[in-house]
């Protein structure tokens, strides 16, 4: 249960309970999880701290997922694994790849699936 120990994860979702569930789940695997409820504050978090993984909702008020990612500085992106977690995917695979998002986790997500992906991606 320590597969994610030492990994810093930033979860962005306007649904607080989603954030909390993800935080609880990922924390169980040893990850250090910060939560943001909108894109603006996520950018602020990213500029102040260093994260290994970003898991963001797509549809959010004020600043949605794709906007958030496009606003992340290139330097920060280089060492950041970015994922979307959405219940309703209106992005094409092309768009997703252009943005540099590695995977979309469909809601309701399965923690095992997420873990498998993250572990694999972190190993690379």
């Amino acid at each position: 249960m320590t597969r994610l120990s030492g990994i810093r994860i930033l979860v962005v979702d306007d649904e607080i309970l989603i954030c909390e569930v993800l935080k609880d789940l990922l924390s169980l695997y040893g990850a250090q999880v910060d939560l943001c409820y909108d894109g603006q504050s996520a950018l602020s978090f990213l500029s102040h701290s260093t994260y290994d993984i970003l898991i963001s909702d797509i549809r959010m008020p004020v600043c949605d997922g794709p906007t958030l990612i496009s606003l992340i500085p290139q330097k920060t992106r280089e060492n950041l694994l970015m994922y979307f977690c959405s219940g309703y995917n209106d992005l094409s695979i092309e768009n997703m790849k252009q943005l540099g998002v590695r995977q979309i986790f469909a809601k309701p997500f399965n923690i095992d699936q997420i873990m498998n992906v993250l572990i694999v991606d972190l190993k690379k």
Binding site: M1, E15, L17, I18, V21, L22, D24, L25, L28, R59, S86, G87, Y88, N89, D90, L91, S92, I93, E94, A106, K107, P108, F109, N110, I111
Partner: protein, 724 residues
């Protein structure tokens, strides 16, 4: 008869007037000529009679004077030549000659005296009548016999004649000689009588007296035996007066004596001699050839001519009237004939046009792909096209004038309400299935009233074959239904999309919490006696959430989604392998044998939405697995991949024995499922079909060698890009 035929047969009635004119003119002429001839011959006859009378009278007048001369002659003979002038005087008085023979100046005796006896004679006479002396007229011939008027009575008026030597003048002598020679009474040429003071022509009429009482037969005897002459001097005027009195209708214009080819005018009427209406007659009387010019009142040929002309004109006018009447009639006839001819040609032309148009009309209606007919208000057929009469197996001649009752026979009762209604002016329309040589056909019959001036005079029947239309309509209706259905599904999908977004977060939370609880139980409640039971509950929650999720996901996929529409070239082998790898474990656990039969090239690609296509394959495999797992023996699933007519065909065949017809009809409907409640969403096949159709392909169920088979067929597009 010939004429009648001439008039009747040949169109020569137009020449009747001319014929009548010609004929009438000829007839008029003939009538006029006939009349003229009749009249003129009558006239001529009368004239001829008059001429005969004149001739008779002319002869008679000398005859009248001859009688007293005969008397003198007989007296002389009776006296045996022994009488003197006193005896003669007595005889004359006793006969009262002058009263009876008006016109004669007197009657006398002329003696012939030898030349030797002249002096002796004169002496003897002087003895008897001292004043007697010979009177010579022209010449004094002593050597010839002389003819001397010895006696003449009445002496009072004839004194100058006594002793006149008539032989001393040619005309008197010639007549005397002629009379002596012929023994006939002879009249002299006109002379101036000595008794008359005025110049007035007269004649001497001689009757010879011979020594024998009868006239000697030969001239020689007559010359030798002549004793003398009885004679009478006659006035011309008296003769003319006599003839004129006897023939009052005639006027004597002139009298001539023709002698030795010379004409000697005896009498010429005073004043103008009218040349018209003159007739010349010639006759011989008393030794002279007489020629008379007479004017007759009767011989007026002009009147005959005028009458004939009038008759001709009357007749001709009648002809003309007839001619004009006929000509008028002819003109009317000619006009009528022209009119008839023209009308006839117009009618012919019209008839031709009519028949051409009728043929054309028949051709037109024959080519109408419907049965067309027309019935009059007495239910009789007037018109039918070939489709119509062929349907009833009749010829156009047979159907014509046939009643609709006879045509339809027992079937009529079905059409009767429509027929009655259309004859009341209401258009009728009804559909019926008819048996035709082409088989069962759906037909639409229309009865259209033919209304003229508000009255129904008949109705049109048009029967269309609407089989194709109805079939097409049915197809269209089905397509429309399908479209509507698609549209409803799309709406449902879009709704689901909205719902999904709203519901996924809550269920993600539930699922997340359930997983969290499980993880926490694993970490903290490992030894709790109820941990497995609790974990089981949590798994059920997890699975239920997945069910909700899959329902929503399925519903979402019914809508068009930009992401899901992404099509790309993908390797068919990879796709199938991925699906099998996902399912392999589950299949193996179910004790089912899975085989793969790939008959395609290793690098075969398909232009598709890989995820969706895999979803379909998964769905089909899941369905098969579910069904096969229920079987007790022979559990297998076979995947066959092959090329077929530029299509890629992927068949999932299992050992099942197919589905019931009821299921087959409904299995593609959304939310239809044969699984127990809670085990299937009923969206699988519906979604799969939807996806395959979006790929331009088809998803079909069939029974292959008695086994259930679902086949996907997707058209293969030529690869033109990179493999994703």
């Amino acid at each position: 008869m010939i004429l009648f035929r001439f008039f009747k047969n040949i169109k020569h009635y137009l020449w009747r007037s001319q014929f009548v004119l010609l004929f009438g003119t000829i007839v008029s002429l003939l009538i006029a000529i006939y009349f003229y001839q009749e009249v003129s011959s009558k006239e001529k006859k009368i004239v001829q009679e008059q001429i005969s009378k004149v001739e008779h009278d002319f002869g008679k007048i000398f005859e009248i004077f001859t009688h007293p001369l005969e008397g003198i002659k007989s007296s002389i003979h009776f006296a045996k030549f022994n009488f003197n002038h006193n005896d003669f005087q007595l005889a004359a008085e006793s006969r009262n000659y002058f009263k009876n023979f008006e016109g004669a100046i007197g009657f006398g005796f002329i003696r012939k005296i030898d030349s030797e006896s002249v002096d002796q004679y004169v002496e003897h006479q002087k003895f008897l009548r001292p004043d007697f002396q010979l009177k010579w007229i022209d010449e004094k011939s002593q050597n010839h016999d002389i003819f001397v008027i010895e006696m003449v009575e009445p002496i009072a008026t004839n004194k100058p004649a006594v002793g006149l030597v008539v032989s001393s003048e040619e005309r008197r002598r010639n007549a005397a000689v002629e009379s002596m020679k012929s023994g006939q009474p002879i009249v002299s040429l006109p002379i101036q009588l000595v008794q008359l003071q005025q110049s007035e022509p007269g004649f001497l009429l001689y009757l010879p007296i011979y020594q024998t009482p009868t006239t000697p037969p030969s001239e020689e005897q007559r010359l030798s035996q002549l004793y003398g002459w009885a004679y009478t001097p006659l006035r011309l005027s008296a003769i003319i007066k006599y003839i004129q009195t006897q023939n009052p209708s005639l006027t004597i214009q002139g009298i001539r004596i023709i002698q030795n080819e010379n004409e000697l005018s005896v009498y010429q009427k005073d004043g103008l001699i009218e040349s018209n209406n003159n007739i010349n007659i010639s006759l011989q009387a008393y030794g002279k050839n007489w020629s008379m010019q007479l004017k007759t009142e009767r011989l007026n040929m002009w009147s005959a001519k005028i009458k004939a002309t009038i008759i001709f004109l009357l007749s001709f006018m009648t002809t003309l009237i007839l001619f004009y009447a006929l000509r008028h009639q002819e003109n009317v006839l000619r006009f009528n004939s022209e009119l008839i001819k023209r009308t006839k040609s117009e009618v012919d032309q019209a008839v031709q046009i009519y028949s051409e148009q009728k043929l054309f009309l028949q051709k037109v209606i024959d080519n109408i792909p419907a049965m067309v007919g027309y019935w009059d208000k007495n239910y009789r057929n007037v018109l039918a096209n070939n489709a119509y009469y062929n349907f009833f197996g009749l010829t156009p001649q047979q159907i014509n004038k046939m009643t609709i009752q006879d045509l339809l026979g027992d079937r009529y009762f079905k059409n009767e309400p429509y027929v009655e209604a259309v004859l009341k002016g209401h258009e009728q329309s009804f559909e019926r299935e008819l048996m035709t040589p082409q088989g069962k056909r759906q037909t639409l019959a229309k009865y259209l009233p033919d209304i003229v001036d508000g009255e129904v005079i008949g109705f049109f029947v048009v029967v269309f074959d609407v089989t194709e239309i109805r079939e097409l309509q049915e197809i269209e209706r089905k397509q429309q239904e399908k479209l509507n259905y698609q549209s409803r599904l799309t709406t449902l999908g879009e709704m689901a999309g909205g719902i999904a977004h709203e519901i996924n977060n809550p269920i993600a939370i539930i699922k997340g919490k359930a997983q969290l609880l499980q993880l926490e139980m694993d970490l903290n409640l490992k030894d709790h006696p109820q941990v497995n039971s609790m974990k089981n509950h949590l798994q059920k929650i997890d699975q239920t959430v997945d069910r909700i999720s899959s329902i929503i996901k399925g519903m979402r996929s019914l809508s068009r989604n930009a992401d899901e529409d992404v099509m790309e070239y993908g390797s068919v082998n990879d796709m199938i392998d991925e699906v099998i790898s996902v399912m392999r474990e589950k299949i193996k656990l179910s004790g089912v044998h899975l085989s793969l039969d790939k008959n395609i090239a290793e690098n075969t690609t398909l232009f598709c939405n890989k995820t969706q296509l895999q979803q379909v394959l998964l769905n089909l495999l899941s369905n098969s697995l579910y069904e096969v797992a229920l079987l007790s023996t022979e559990k297998w699933i076979k995947i066959v991949v092959q090329n077929e007519n530029k299509h890629l065909k992927i068949s999932v065949i299992d050992s099942g024995k197919g589905v019931s017809a009821e299921v087959e009809n409904k299995m593609m409907n959304p939310f239809f499922t044969t699984k127990p409640p809670g085990q299937g969403t009923g969206l699988g096949l519906s979604l799969s079909q939807n996806i395959i159709q979006k790929h331009g392909g088809s998803l079909d169920y069939s029974l292959l060698d008695g086994h259930t088979a679902f086949s996907i067929k997707i058209p293969i597009r030529q690869f033109s890009g990179k493999v994703a």
